[in-house]
């Protein structure tokens, strides 16, 4: 497992306790999983994402990632409508491992209530949770 000081934890995203990240991009929020999460999962072989247009509440399961013989659930950092999904992950699920905050993004959400972002963990709070 990566040491905590080896983890990439950008300043421009917020985190959930379940290791998703959310980045505000104008009126929408882009969502993926953290460097810690991808390291913990191991090699990702499949990403199951919802259809664009689906709506979920904060904390709802929106998809799964499959690493070898393991299916792990993904949860919404904020509630809202999924406006775009990262279709590249169909052919390149490994992007989640190699570039979790960039090419490995998963969905883009139009939040019902942007203030839900404020309740998410900032980098320091997330790091404290990891230090547990």
């Amino acid at each position: 497992m990566k040491e905590l000081n080896e983890l990439i934890l950008p300043d421009d995203v917020r985190f959930t306790e379940d290791h998703e990240w959310a980045r505000r991009e104008g009126e929408t929020v882009r969502v993926g999983i953290s460097d810690y999460a991808q390291d913990q999962l191991g090699d990702i072989v499949f990403v199951e994402l919802p259809e664009a247009g689906s709506t979920f509440g904060k904390g709802d399961e929106f998809g799964t990632v499959e690493s070898v013989k393991t299916v792990s659930e993904l949860y919404m950092p904020v509630g809202g409508e999924v406006v775009t999904v990262n279709e590249e992950l169909v052919d390149h699920p490994e992007y989640v491992n190699t570039d979790p905050y960039g090419k490995g993004w998963m969905i883009e959400v139009k939040p019902d209530d942007l203030s839900e972002m404020d309740a998410l963990l900032d980098r320091d709070a997330y790091l404290r949770q990891l230090e547990g």
Binding site: M1, D18, L41, E48, S67, K69, T70, V71, E73, Y75
Partner: protein, 231 residues
Amino acid sequence: MPDLRIVNLEGTRRYISLLRAQHRLIAARREGTLSSDVALVLEHAPVFTLGRNATREHLKVSETFLTERGIQVVQAERGGDITYHGPGQVVAYLIFDLRAARMRIPDYISRLEEAMIRVARDFDVPAGRNPLNPGVWVGNRKLGSIGIAVRHGIAYHGLALNANLSLEPFTWIHPCGLTGISMTSLKEERGRDIKIEDVKSALSGHLKDLFEGRGIAVNPMSSLGEIAIRP
């Protein structure tokens, strides 16, 4: 690592009731009303299960054929493809908090494989890993399988080790979506009968060693209280 409570369930158990039990245990583990990890060691009544990326094309017979034999086909939440469970196969379901243990999933899977390899060794069967396909193998014959799901950082489902089950149902599927491999069992490899209770107890012992568990209980319904497993 937190304690691992190992529960050896007697009799054959329905897949669906164990799935519900696992859901209750995960919820309790997450809420903190269950402070230890739990391993349930058991045998299933005959059932085919489809993992999340399974395709029914890997089932070579019709569902009617199976229904006539009293065998259900159920959708499972674990990873992996199609497989068969039935009497004579030892299943261990671990409700295991990966975060509390600070364990990566590949390491966790490796420990589950190690538990099966050690059981095989106890019965003088030389089993090992295959770099291309997870699980436990004797040559190109599959002895044990792994399938895991993770909910809020807590792993459930687990492993299945073939002790003395009928291997015929595996001929009705492409196990785990693989073709050109065969399934085997401890009995098949040893050429003599194997007592299922001996396999369950060997597996419980090795899980206890590998996950630093404190004890093994047999059918402790009352101690599981609210989350008791119903037959």
